[in-house]
């Protein structure tokens, strides 16, 4: 028995090391969070645009028309002074109508 006692002590230390390692692994593993995949910037931009699209049903008839005209002008993309001025005018109108809608809502 005297000869085998140190042998058992070695095994005891081995199990102790196993226990400490397993505690460490479990602690680290429980804390871990999944890595987020690297996303395409173009896809992110598309998602951002999609989330900020205004629902047409929320606008009045005139406002919708103005918004569509503005979008068509912008789509053509010709850099002329007239077009820029037209866009600005439409923007101002849109802004004014939007403010009116908000004011009416507050009154309601």
């Amino acid at each position: 028995m005297e000869a085998t006692a140190p042998l058992y002590l070695n095994f005891f230390i081995m199990i102790l090391i196993v226990a400490v390692t397993s505690t460490f692994i479990a602690y680290k593993g429980a804390k871990q969070r999944p890595k987020k995949p690297v996303r395409d910037p173009l896809e992110q931009a598309e998602e951002f645009v999609a989330s900020n699209v205004v629902h047409l049903s929320h606008l009045t008839r005139d406002l919708t028309k103005l918004a569509i005209r503005r979008a068509i002008l912008q789509e053509k993309g010709e850099d002329t002074v007239e077009q820029t001025l037209e866009l600005l005018r439409l923007d101002r109108e849109l802004l004014q109508q939007g403010r009116d809608i908000l004011a009416n809502r507050e009154l309601d």
């Binding site: 028995m1 085998t4 006692a5 058992y8 002590l9 095994f11 005891f12 081995m14 199990i15 102790l16 196993v18 226990a19 390692t21 397993s22 505690t23 692994i25 479990a26 680290k28 593993g29 429980a30 871990q32 969070r33 999944p34 890595k35």
Partner: protein, 185 residues
């Protein structure tokens, strides 16, 4: 009437483990298609609970068979009682380390969060290793042999707790998948 505690504990443990095994086989047979679809879509992140629990159940079943096979083979060896115990405790603690590591590694590979159940399994695996450590010291280093009943009780109760939670999670998964199928149909 005298009851042999060893036989009783062994019976409880093996009955629970075989119940888990049969439950999981039934689950795999009835819901095979769902796992196929999940595996094909590779979309583990949106089915986090299902994937996490499935990992846990598979690892539990595999580890039960591995551990019981090794322990039976060591017991059947013709060696001294103390050295057989030493081998058993050491190998079992190493296997439990593998059990905890497999849980963590599988979740890391599929890139998903750990559910509460696998976390509980890891925690109990750790506790089992510490119990083996204390029992080893008690039986072979100090040679007092005071904790034989406590060791048997704790091992069986922890194993049965894990198995019962596993069976509960299987039932939960069955209900959840049935609900999903109904929604799709």
């Amino acid at each position: 009437m005298e009851i042999n505690l060893d036989v009783l504990f062994l019976a409880i443990d093996s009955i629970l483990n075989y119940t888990l095994f049969t439950c999981s086989i039934a689950f795999i047979i009835f819901f095979k298609l769902d796992f196929k679809a999940l595996w094909k879509s590779k979309d583990f992140a949106s089915n986090e609970t299902l994937s996490s629990m499935t990992i846990s159940i598979v690892i539990n079943v595999v580890s039960f068979f591995l551990i019981s096979f090794t322990i039976n083979s060591i017991v059947s060896l013709d060696i001294e009682k103390n050295s057989s115990a030493c081998l058993r405790y050491t190998l079992q603690s190493f296997m439990l380390l593998g059990y905890v590591y497999a849980h963590i590694k599988a979740h890391r590979l599929l890139n998903i969060n750990m559910h509460a159940l696998p976390k509980l399994c890891c925690f109990f695996g750790n506790i089992l290793i510490y119990i083996h450590l204390i029992r080893f010291a008690d039986r072979l280093v100090f040679e007092t042999n005071l904790l034989s009943l406590a060791y048997r009780l704790s091992i069986v109760s922890i194993n049965s707790l894990i198995v019962l939670t596993m069976i509960g999670s299987l039932i939960y998964l069955m209900i959840a998948t049935q609900k999903l199928n109904r929604k799709e149909a």
